[in-house]
Subunit: 137 residues, 2 copies
């Protein structure tokens, strides 16, 4: 909470109630929620909350490089406060999205030399939990 506020301040974002809530949530969760997920999560706690505010806050955070967007499938844009270089694994059974790191830098195995600003990668498959469930049936 205090920590969340400090990070926002340090990046020139004044820590309004909504911003602290949303950014705090993104810092602590690993679920890669969509804008709508975030809206739904806080709607009861902050009844006045507007979907527009969620989008506004997310776009401010993105602007200041405090969150990244994750694009796995068409439509759905997810948000992530984990800013280390990493990719994502989406389970095609349960739909969960988790972080995925590489044992080697992707930069180094690209077939072309290019000026690179960002790398994202997404893997689809079956998570270990769903796999276990499948095997026990």
């Amino acid at each position: 909470m205090e920590q969340t506020i400090n990070i926002l301040k340090k990046h020139g974002i004044s820590p309004s109630y909504q911003r602290v809530k949303i950014f705090g949530y993104l810092m602590e969760t690993k679920t890669h929620p969509t804008a709508y997920d975030i809206f739904a999560k806080f709607k009861s706690e902050i009844p006045s909350l507007s979907k527009t505010t969620v989008y506004n806050v997310l776009s401010a955070l993105k602007e200041k490089n405090l969150v990244n967007e994750v694009h796995i499938e068409g439509h759905e844009t997810r948000f992530d406060a984990e800013m280390r270089q990493h990719g994502h694994f989406k389970c095609s059974v349960c739909g969960q999205v988790s972080d995925l790191f590489l044992t080697q830098d992707l930069n180094q195995i690209l077939s072309q030399k290019l000026v690179i600003q960002d790398i994202q990668f997404n893997v689809t498959g079956i998570c270990n939990q769903c796999l276990t469930l499948q095997n026990n049936n």
Copy 2:
């Protein structure tokens, strides 16, 4: 043309005029067009063409694994008939999307063992053409 028709037939898709045109285009282009790009490209040649048909054809092709969707940024879904495992490079200056291959299999450098169905990766940066233009100014 004959080739395009054969591939469609082999995959159980009857080669209607629209399907041959759209799939043929996807086979020959490397631009990774959106549904709308495809619609715009053929609208004058096939005046009756409907956007719905473009979506129908694309979803049939996807179903039969003749094309893949490419998701780089939110909104835009692009289509690709290159079915070899590869990733994409999007130039942040000119917006072009090109294929990108790796010198090593991504599978092998994932930090976790997982059942994998699909891998996609997207790199953003500055293409060599835009880089040259920049340096000459």
